[in-house]
Symmetry: D3
Subunit: 338 residues, 6 copies
């Protein structure tokens, strides 16, 4: 029996799948017929369907299946008026041996199109190349390395953009590239600035601007929620904490000296990167470096939202619905209607 992903299955096809159970609700039809509505997903798609009271899996579903657990499932894939469903033939929890067949829990969550390890390497490479100040460079490299495991996983946001495994890295890499380009350009345009535009600071700030997401978000198989500190304090302040802790930890031991002014500017850059108070920034960007990172970040988030809206909206006519994260119509154009 082939091992497939959900998006690879054709209607009527039978295959084995490694799936994460995402939800289980006990419901009753209006006529009083009890049933469970269950959800399963892998990295490519999610399906939600009923397990009827008289179905063969009804007892197991009620007593054993657990949201957040991983299963090896043999099933026939069906297209119905309620969307895709699975006709389950066999099901068991995954075990260690399944790794040999390519199972990995993380793969059951939506994924960045890019390899997280490669993205983290790219980011480290950029840090080494673009941050001229050795103290800042060591700080940034250290933080990326110490938070490696979390960085490989964490999304950039719960829902709005890059809400998938590796999303924070994908977003950060894109923002960093834009910010470095823009810093280079403006440093060249305005050579008379005093102090000169600090390209090291822009690169470091872009890399670290969202690092607090690691403490803000709690990414679990069954869904991403806020941590207590994330809810009460937020990622801007938590990211600044991580920076200050890393700076304090390193200072005495490593022999290099991070200028207090550079640290302060970097702290500011992190807390100001959302710019508007209603988006959570207690201060607007007050340095040219913070201004650049804000724009690079904001465009990247908005652009990815627009791409996602264009990919998923099914409104008829030349524009999408305005019920989306941007709260506006997006133009789909003539091409898209063909």
């Amino acid at each position: 029996m082939p091992i497939l992903t959900l998006s690879e299955m054709a209607a009527g096809q039978e295959a084995d799948l490694f799936l994460l159970m995402t939800s289980k609700e006990q419901l009753t039809t209006r006529e009083g017929k009890p049933y469970f509505r269950v959800g399963f997903r892998d990295g490519t798609r999610e399906v939600v369907f009923p397990i009827w009271d008289n179905a063969p899996w009804a007892v197991d579903c009620r007593d054993k299946w657990t949201p957040g657990a991983f299963y090896k499932v043999r099933a026939v894939y069906r297209e119905t008026n309620y969307g895709p469903q699975l006709d389950i033939r066999k099901i068991r929890e995954t075990c260690a041996a399944d790794a040999a067949d390519g199972f990995c829990p993380t793969l059951c969550l939506p994924q960045s199109r890019f390899d997280p390890r490669q993205m983290l390497d790219d980011l480290l490479g950029i840090a080494r190349q673009e941050i001229a100040d050795p103290a800042v460079r060591a700080l940034v490299e250290g933080m990326l390395t110490e938070n490696r495991e979390a960085l490989l996983r964490v999304p950039a946001a719960r829902h709005n953009h890059h809400a998938f495994v590796g999303g924070l890295l994908e977003h950060t890499l894109s923002v960093t590239r834009s910010a470095i380009y823009l810093a280079g350009k403006y440093a060249e345009y305005y050579p008379e600035m005093r102090p000169p535009l600090d390209r090291s600071l822009v690169a470091a700030g872009a890399i670290l601007h969202d690092i607090g997401k690691i403490r803000e978000l709690d990414q679990r198989p069954e869904g991403t929620t806020y941590t207590a500190a994330g809810a009460l304090v937020g990622h801007l302040l938590l990211g600044r904490d991580m920076l200050r802790e890393a700076a304090a930890r390193r200072a005495p031991t490593e022999g290099w000296s991070l200028a207090p002014e550079a640290l302060l500017r970097l702290e500011h850059l992190i807390i100001a990167h959302q710019r508007l108070p209603e988006w959570g920034s207690p201060k607007p960007p007050m340095t040219p470096e913070a201004l650049i990172v804000h724009y690079a970040d904001d465009l990247d988030a908005k652009f990815s939202m627009m791409v996602a809206i264009l990919a998923s909206d099914t409104n008829p006519g030349p524009v999408t619905s305005k019920k989306n994260v941007l709260m506006q119509h997006v133009y789909r154009g003539e091409v898209a209607t063909e």
Copy 2:
């Protein structure tokens, strides 16, 4: 010769004064006559007047007098169409011996009507009595003690309210008293709350809510400005830093254990106490304790503004001008026009 304060002097009276020079500007009349406009103040009043080019003090003024320095001045006090002026007879910088005559630099700045030392003692007494949790109590007492010198001096704001020596203490004491009253009342009204309303947390939060002003403001004889960190990060975050540093410093050495949950709620209370994002709070009050401290704080600030507006506005008619910090008319009433 008597030693007086500026507010004690009558028109035409001569006396000795201990004064802070607040400003010195070199100007020229339209006719080309050069002169200096100088400002002097003590804790009771400020006077600004010209030193003409041909006046006896012209050379000393230009070469020796320095804004920010303190002087013993013998002068005749004059009321003129340009406001009060000093006709200087003798002037010298203050010296150590002047302390015997009651001189103290701080006394040349505007003062709280209350004795800062007494206010700090009151605050410590409240902390000891109202904070039941020993770890929180030790933390608050420690922070008050370690920051004693700064607390005795710092204003609550640069301009808007309690902008004088001891202002932070005066404001904090008032907010704390209100917050403790309100916490007691609501704990009694809503005994069923789970977790119960934490009165220790309210008292600690009220005492610490503005502690970051110590790092935000740089109070000098010639005027209060923002520090670099104050400008780029702000007192909400700086106050939270002070709290976290104090908690980290104490934890290992003193044998008591501050619950992480209590620390987090206290951090939140500090950063949320301004409530609105446009006032700098990255999060609104999300706990009942933070809600109480916000209201106690906001009323105290607004009430003191209204008192100050009523005391200083000279608009004719039953209401003040609306050009004030509240940006609205305040009603002066019939009584005030008698």
Copy 3:
């Protein structure tokens, strides 16, 4: 058969209940099966359930049962997937004799936890003690007495806070206590105010600030709605009308003299107590007395909202949903998740 309240019943238990019918809708299932969805409540809980077409009560339900009427019901209490339901055995409208068994229509509505009569007495006691000006005191006492019946009943708002029998009194009593504390404190802090802070006015204003709710809201068994005047004019203006009418009525007959200035300040306090124009206040608080009452009122409303949100929200994780009357997350905390 025991007489119980809804909240006292266990699943499967049979008992007699005094209930208010709150709703009756005629519906049809998708299969064309007609039924009624009916609602019943007492002071402790509301249940909503179907009466099927072929059920024994179908004809009575259609022809006789009336929303807004009170019934004595014998029923078995059932817990179902659609929530609690009643399996009705006997049902008749209440009659005078039921009073002997403790029936009282008001008891079928949600209630304040405090006894309205006691609260009104407390409020009168406060008025007598805290209002030094005899004319203001007589006015306030008179208004409380004349509106006694309404005050014992009326909620503080339709939905947002204290939306239950006695809610206006409960809210008013709490606001008045806070306002008196705060007025006392600030009168002591700012003895130099001219005119001095008027504590009588604060107490009177706090007691009367929401009195217009009596004319704004129409509290009926089947739900609270706005009166025509409530909709077109609102409780701020209606409360001021009640004050002016009471002052005009009393003036000639009772021999005391209410100062026009005091009346005007009290009128202002009522219309300004919501502070913001978008909350309906045509003027912001322009006197220190109005400022105090606004803050005491606003905190009391927001605090009770937060308590209610914490008590009812069922969102998983450390914070509540933000779909609530405060439109923000509230922190539930670690304790609550145990």
Copy 4:
């Protein structure tokens, strides 16, 4: 010697004038030369000029001249770089006999271009003709008659529009005409409305919408200020008070019966006519009648502002400055630059 108005005088001409003294300030030049700056006006223009210390009128100016008093002045009119000035030859307070020469105090204030008595007659004529409901008509006629003296004088606003004697009448007449036209038109367009559009109500509401200005503004020779009630309560509520008092006064004595519903709708119309809460309306227009009056009123105010801006702005180029009451550029056009 001819008796002229200020606007009739040519540079260098000597004449007698009846003038109101509007201001007197004691100032000193930078060189210490004391002088008075005095202002005089009549209905056509205001002039402000110095009375030097050594001028013949210096002593009289200091000791006798009083802002708010009226004078008969013989003077030569001069055009200077500081604007028009008067070279006073003779001056005395006006006396009863001056009436024979056409003096009237009101004429020294800026005037409507229309005769207030005629405007009031027109308004009464409209009321009689357009208000079909006899009770409403009697109420409106009564209020216009009882407030005759105030109506003949009061401006429509302190500064923003129609800020001159008779301004309230001029504005009210224009609003009423527009509102009646619009009500007629929409009654015809929407004959199916239930209740039908009430043209009597629109006419009455338009006539009374700003009547509260009479109690809000205190118009004195030296300038218009707010009354205490105007400041604390505002003209919307004061106008509604006047309406309710008039209705209460009449009801028992005159034998007609004003429908409570009509009174309530009229009250609403008055308090809602500014529409937006930030403009002081506690409720938006909630009836079609209130909607019409709001638009007729708002257009009339904005139109008169635009006319005044076009008449007075001296900005070069095709648009006016945006420092005006509309806070926007107004287009002057090509024609105006000829």
Copy 5:
């Protein structure tokens, strides 16, 4: 068999109808029973009902019926708990011969109560009479004539007001009448304006203010959507384009000369008529003419919304729900509850 409209049919009656099919959705009941939900409408009403799988029309419905097509239907009209339904006896697409029985596709859409041809004639008559400037008059007449077919059809908006065939004409005619009245009145009140108020411009602007709707909206039998240009550019700019194109087209050929200043003022009037930037106007009204048209337009739209809300809202109590296009309560009054 009689030919009726939907609104003429009584429950149980059988008749022939000319109907537009508006929707067809394939659905399945929870029990897995497939069915179609279909919608049909004529100019008076819309009905939506199921065609069950086993019904006689099931196959035709699936294979032949097409939303957007017109049908002659013989059916019995039923009132059910799900609203009105049709029990179809015969059905065929309309053909040319049906015109003889009065069929016209446009009549199947909701209609203005007024005859579009008559309204267009009225508008042309107004243009000829009220526009004194011959070049402007010719321009307006030309545009009305060239766009005759579209004008007879297009609604004034997709949903908010006048959303029916002829709606744009109905709205435009009403706005134009109001604007002409107001322009006449203000020209008379302010004869001193320079340049004088241009009544031709007001009339032309009122007639053309919404002409861009013709290019913005795509009105099809199955519903009105935005065109691509409508979505990306909007009717204000598209209307200005139509004006400029018409002016450019005419200029060389017809011998008259449109003043560039008049054209520019007319362009401004069109793009400014919504006044607020958040409503899409890039500039506020900057001329008196534009101000008048804005107010006439805004009142007409709001008035028609309020009429529609009052006609359709079913909320109990004296006010409507606030879930409507005005987002506020509207007062229904005592009359309406009888």
Copy 6:
């Protein structure tokens, strides 16, 4: 005698200068001494100083000197308390022969640091290289060429940013470079977009986004003002007009075919590039291409503002004043205080 620019002159130095007269005001001192205040500038600096009544140039100044005219001036440069002044020795209007000495009127205005001709060539080079669609490329090249003279001169804004000769080109070039970089990056990141990201459109849109400034601004020697069309319609719409006119003009004659879809997207990009309605955009960016150009434009404007604020602010302390075009503090940093 050397020919210098104002910024090259030292105090007390005498030289010849080519200057533009920028202002002439007739004033009088308080003592009645009449004088003229005159302003002269070249591309490097502006000086404003008095010409006293008894000075040798008084008569010429009054009778002959004209703001907006150019002069060859021999003068001694003085530093005074009122700022730099010129002690004029000789003065005459410039003549054709002065070109030989390097005089050029444009050089008397503030200049871009870059050569306008070179910038325009760069822009054309970019257009040729980056716009793949031949029709779009020809359109853009044509518009740049046809508007060459204006482009070489026009500023990017009246005051806020790039307010100097060549400013529009400098701003456009920078925006275009950023936009092209960003478009390239996102095209690579999101290859799955349908339609794919149109890099030609981004480049064309960036080049043309502000082209309407040419019709909006009237740049004269004496200052930049709005044209009538600029005031009434604005540069967004005027730029779209220029685009549409160029497209219409070319279409029939040049044999290439611009896709209507491409033209519409480009129109949208121009009118949407300010994003927010309160900044004048009637539509937000609704295409990915428009989003990119908006961000590139907004960052470039804000960055140049911040650079200018840092260069000119003289506030003491670590931050600038907040009275600047960004209405916020900008951090100057420790470096700047050395």
